[in-house]
């Protein structure tokens, strides 16, 4: 600790990234201790049990859907894209914050990411699992889902590469693969930590298997760090491309309310916005339950609320700009769509979206509020709700007023729609709780690296 005066880059910040009297060993203890504890905390059982029950509901809903047909959902003409696409975009957006934290902040040398990156990368992967599920079950005959990939089939047909829906297949599956590699690569040295401390033979075997024989060799670290940097540099444009491609699903179509060039940046900002909210929703309880307060500090939370405020204003700008363009274009269909969006039958959804996404994050101008965990947690829930409604508003309000007034239709979800959405949260939290119990929640080796004593002082020269 005495060395800290000689280190440079940490001194410009008012607070240390790791608080308390932590050294290398105590960090290993804190993080590995969670996995090594004979029993997880009570709260873990409660959350895991609830999530598992919700996952069961999801399973039942999928079985019902597949055996009966997509008619069990509320989707119908003209709202053929109902909740499944809303949920898909919602979940895929959640994932974006994880990649932003792990890749973009890494490239920008934002050391504060180390406390939360493992967490948020896990969140990314689980959110993309939930997201990918929705289009897959939406195809109805799920056993033909492999037709979306360019694989030889008995019809001697290939997919249409000029369809945004196919771009989506490539974007989301690439995103999932790269996120998984990135996450697993970061995990390997930490799994080795668990392996080296494991007492039981089973644990030694499994953690040993997945830590790939890591010895912390510096010759290996050298290539590892290079590869990590390369992956970060690849994941950065990738994460921007994924939600841009998702937005193409809408923007490339000819529908008023969808056919706008602002969609790609607007969707990316919204994705980061919702993703950071989800990181907060997860990390505020987790740091408390698992005693990670010294590693995921108030400074981390403060920083995340600032990101939320910035991206919240970006989506607010996009909402305003959509209205401006609808008016400025002079296109009467665009004009109608947007007036209908804010004052039509779904006005309630529109104003929930605006109040949750644009108005509520404004309270983060105050430092006291940014550091009040209860308020921040509630605000993060607001943002999650608001961002779900954003996708609902974009999808449903643009569709429900067709060009042919006789087709106009007020979309309402069925009980299957609702339980499937709830069930997807079950899937997400089940995976997340398993992660919390069996894998290091904080990137041990990376956090050690931001401690002052991790840097040699070359007084020998």
């Amino acid at each position: 600790m005495a060395n800290s005066a000689s280190t440079t880059h940490l001194d410009i910040f008012p607070e240390d990234l790791v608080q308390g009297t932590n050294d290398f060993h105590s960090i290993t203890e804190t993080v590995c201790g969670i996995i090594e504890a004979p029993k997880p905390p009570k709260a873990w059982y409660i959350i895991f049990g609830t999530a598992l029950a919700m996952l069961g509901v999801l399973g039942a809903m999928i079985v019902y859907l597949v055996t009966t047909g997509v008619g069990v959902w509320g989707n119908n003409q003209p709202v053929a894209w109902g909740w499944p696409i809303v949920n898909f975009v919602f979940w895929v957006g959640i994932g974006h914050a994880g990649t932003l934290i792990s890749a973009v902040l890494f490239l920008f040398r934002q050391d504060w990411r180390t406390g939360i990156n493992r967490f948020s990368e896990a969140m990314t992967i689980f959110a993309v699992v939930c997201a990918g599920m929705f289009p897959a079950i939406h195809v109805g005959r799920i056993w033909f889902i492999w037709w979306v990939f360019p694989l030889p089939n008995q019809m001697a047909m290939w997919p249409n590469f000029r369809s945004p829906l196919l771009w989506d297949v490539f974007a989301v599956s690439t995103y999932f693969s790269v996120s998984l590699l990135f996450w697993y690569m970061g995990l390997v040295p930490d799994l080795a930590s668990v392996r080296d401390r494991a007492v039981s033979k089973t644990k030694r075997f499994w953690y040993g298997l997945f830590s790939l024989g890591w010895t912390g060799s510096n010759r290996q670290w050298h290539r590892y760090e290079r590869a990590y940097l390369v992956l970060a540099a690849l994941a950065t444009p990738l994460v921007l491309s994924v939600h841009s491609v998702v937005s193409f699903d809408f923007a490339v179509s000819q529908l008023a309310g969808w056919h706008t060039t602002i969609f790609p940046p607007y969707f990316v900002a919204g994705a980061i916005f919702s993703g950071f909210a989800m990181v907060l929703t997860l990390s505020i309880p987790a740091r408390k339950i698992f005693g990670l307060e010294e590693l995921i500090t108030l400074r981390h939370i403060d920083n995340m609320t600032k990101v939320i405020m910035a991206t919240g204003m970006m989506v607010g700008y996009a909402y305003a700009m959509e209205f401006f363009m609808a008016w400025y274009s002079g296109n009467e269909y665009e004009g109608f769509t947007f007036i209908n969006r804010a004052f039509g039958p779904y006005a309630w959804a529109y104003w929930i979206m605006v109040s949750c996404n644009v108005l509520s994050p404004q309270i983060f101008w105050f430092k006291k509020i940014r550091r009040n965990l209860v308020v921040v947690f509630i605000m993060s829930l607001f943002v999650n709700v608001g961002m779900w409604f954003e996708r609902f508003v974009i999808t449903v309000t643009s569709l429900n007023r067709d060009f042919l007034p006789s087709s106009w239709h007020y979309f309402t979800p069925t009980w299957v729609d609702i339980l499937t959405l709830i069930g997807s949260f079950g899937l997400f939290f089940t995976l997340f709780m398993l992660f919390c119990r069996f894998l290091p929640q904080v990137a041990i080796s990376e956090v050690k690296n931001v401690l002052p004593q991790a840097h040699p002082h070359h007084d020998a020269h």
Binding site: D23, F24, H25, T28, T67, T68, G69, R141, W143, P150, M157, W158, F161, R162, L166, W167, F170, A171, T174, S177, V178, L181, F182, M185, P189, S193, R195, D196, R197, G208, G213, W214, T215, G216, S217, N218, R219, Q220, W221, H222, R223, Y224, R226, A227, V230, L231, L234, A235, P237, L238, S241, S445, N449, A454, H455, P456, H457, H458, D459, A460
Partner: protein, 478 residues
């Protein structure tokens, strides 16, 4: 020393423990300067500056990633071009089958995917991992390498290696402890129990594959499995089908009285029939109709003449086009003619797709003009025998469209040599043809239809005199 397992394996090398990064970095520099080549530092996290101290050459991995990224990019271009422009071209709104902008997202994703896989797997391969066994793991102290201690290991394989010297050297560099590390005497392979399990799993894994291979490309008489019967067998009604839903059992519903279906409102009351309109009709008639119906509408067009030649030579069968001048067509309403032009009739194809609506009405106006102009040409029948008058009726009432008198089969049965012929009826009874049957077949044709012919003939309304003439003509044809 007691902490290292020594079961008489070969010496791997000497490992030294250090307590902080600064000592480690200084030690690393000294070890390198001493000329060792087979040695390494082991740390719980990447120590910055250690690469320089150790003199590690910069990895070539990024170049490999670049090369594979470009490969992915190229493959994506080729794949999309081959699949969408060559092997299975998509025609969408007449757009070009190969247009790069729409293929960029997939090109980008494949570039990233190939690069990321290369960075990830390339890194592990270059690092020689996964490696399930390493002699350093046999050292108890070494387990803190992933916690809070730093190690320098010099391998016995190094040319300069000397165990005692290495110990002293590393201690002099500030190592808090130095130890010998030995290989295991046993083989470093997988444990026997695991091997057995893996073999069993590998065998089990081949079962589904062999089942797939066994059924590949084979036919079966078993009906296919309907995973979700709802999707394959749907409770829906098809147009023209039967249903129990409506009392009359018909799925297609009749139009509500007093309404006009969309697109059916062809209001030609606005067409002013004047010279220009009829000229237009003549022009269109000569283009589209005259090839079969002839320029005068008598059904003697070029196609008809050529086809008749071929039919007579036995090369083809031919149903002659109608003579539009006949009273039958003169008596048809404009709407009937319009319907025939639009949708076609018998072997005449539909012209609705080729002739504009207004032009169809113009053609009808011109056909009316042809009929009126040639009315005076009708045949004087005075002095003709009954058979001769019957022959005229046979053509003018369009019997000849479906029937021949030379034994050839068109749509209906040939009408020569009918009397005394034994035929089978639709209800499988047999009958010997007499005059009564012939008459009945003209006035109420489908009452006793012959088996093997379409039930398509319409009633013909004739005066008793005409009926007798027609009967006599048919009887005269042996």
């Amino acid at each position: 020393m007691t902490e290292t397992l020594n079961d008489n394996g070969e010496l791997y090398g000497v490992v030294a423990e250090f307590d902080d990064v600064t000592t480690l970095c200084n030690a690393a520099e000294k070890v390198r300067e001493a000329g060792y080549t087979k040695w390494d530092c082991h740390t719980p996290f990447p120590v910055h500056g250690l690469d320089d101290s150790m003199g590690i050459k910069f990895t070539k991995l990024p170049w490999v990633v670049l090369a594979m990224g470009l490969t992915g990019c190229t493959l994506a271009v080729l794949m999309q071009w081959w699949m969408n422009a060559v092997d299975f071209p998509y025609d969408i709104s007449g757009k070009p089958q190969w247009s790069l902008p729409a293929n960029i997202p997939v090109i980008f994703e494949m570039t990233v995917l190939f690069s990321a896989f290369t960075a990830f797997f390339g890194m592990w391969i270059a690092n020689g991992l996964p490696l399930w066994y390493h002699p350093l793991f046999r050292n108890k102290r070494f387990s803190r390498v992933t916690d809070d201690k730093f190690f320098v290991a010099i391998e016995a394989a190094d040319d300069l290696f000397n165990s005692a010297q290495a110990h002293d050297f590393l201690k002099s560099l500030g190592a808090s402890d130095t130890e010998d590390v030995y290989h295991s005497a046993e083989s470093a392979g997988l444990p026997g129990s695991l091997k057995g399990k893996l073999v069993v799993m590998a065998c089990l894994a081949t079962i589904p594959l062999s089942m797939v291979y066994n059924s590949y490309g084979k036919t079966t008489t078993e009906p296919r499995v309907h995973l979700v019967p709802d999707m394959d067998k749907q409770d829906k009604f098809r147009a023209q089908g039967q249903t129990s839903l409506f009392a009359d059992g018909r799925m297609s519903r009749a139009q509500v009285e007093g309404t006009v279906a969309q697109g059916d409102l062809d209001d030609h009351s606005n067409n002013v029939v004047n010279a220009a309109f009829i000229d237009r009709g003549e022009e269109r008639f000569n283009i589209y109709c005259s090839v079969c119906h002839g320029f005068d509408g008598r059904g003697d067009g070029a196609v008809h003449r050529r086809a008749t030649e071929l039919a007579d030579a036995g090369h083809a069968s031919w149903i002659p086009p109608s003579n539009l001048i006949l009273d039958l067509y003169a008596g048809q309403s404009d709407e009937e003619l319009y319907s025939t032009i639009t949708d076609g009739i018998r072997t005449m194809p539909a012209y609705g797709g080729q002739i504009l609506e207004k032009d169809r009405w113009a053609i009808i106006a011109y056909v009316r003009a042809l009929q009126m102009a040639q009315k005076g040409d009708s045949v004087d029948t005075t002095g003709m025998t009954s058979e001769q008058r019957g022959a005229l009726l046979f053509d003018s009432q369009t019997c000849s469209t479906c029937h021949t008198v030379n034994g050839a089969r068109l749509i209906g049965p040939p009408l020569n040599g009918l009397l005394g012929q034994e035929i089978t009826l639709d209800d499988d009874t047999t009958l010997v043809i007499d005059e009564k049957y012939i008459l009945k077949s003209i006035t109420n044709p489908m009452a006793q239809a012959r088996k093997g012919y379409p039930k398509a003939m319409l009633e013909v309304e004739l005066t008793d005199e005409d009926l007798t003439d027609l009967l006599n003509y048919i009887k005269s044809q042996k």
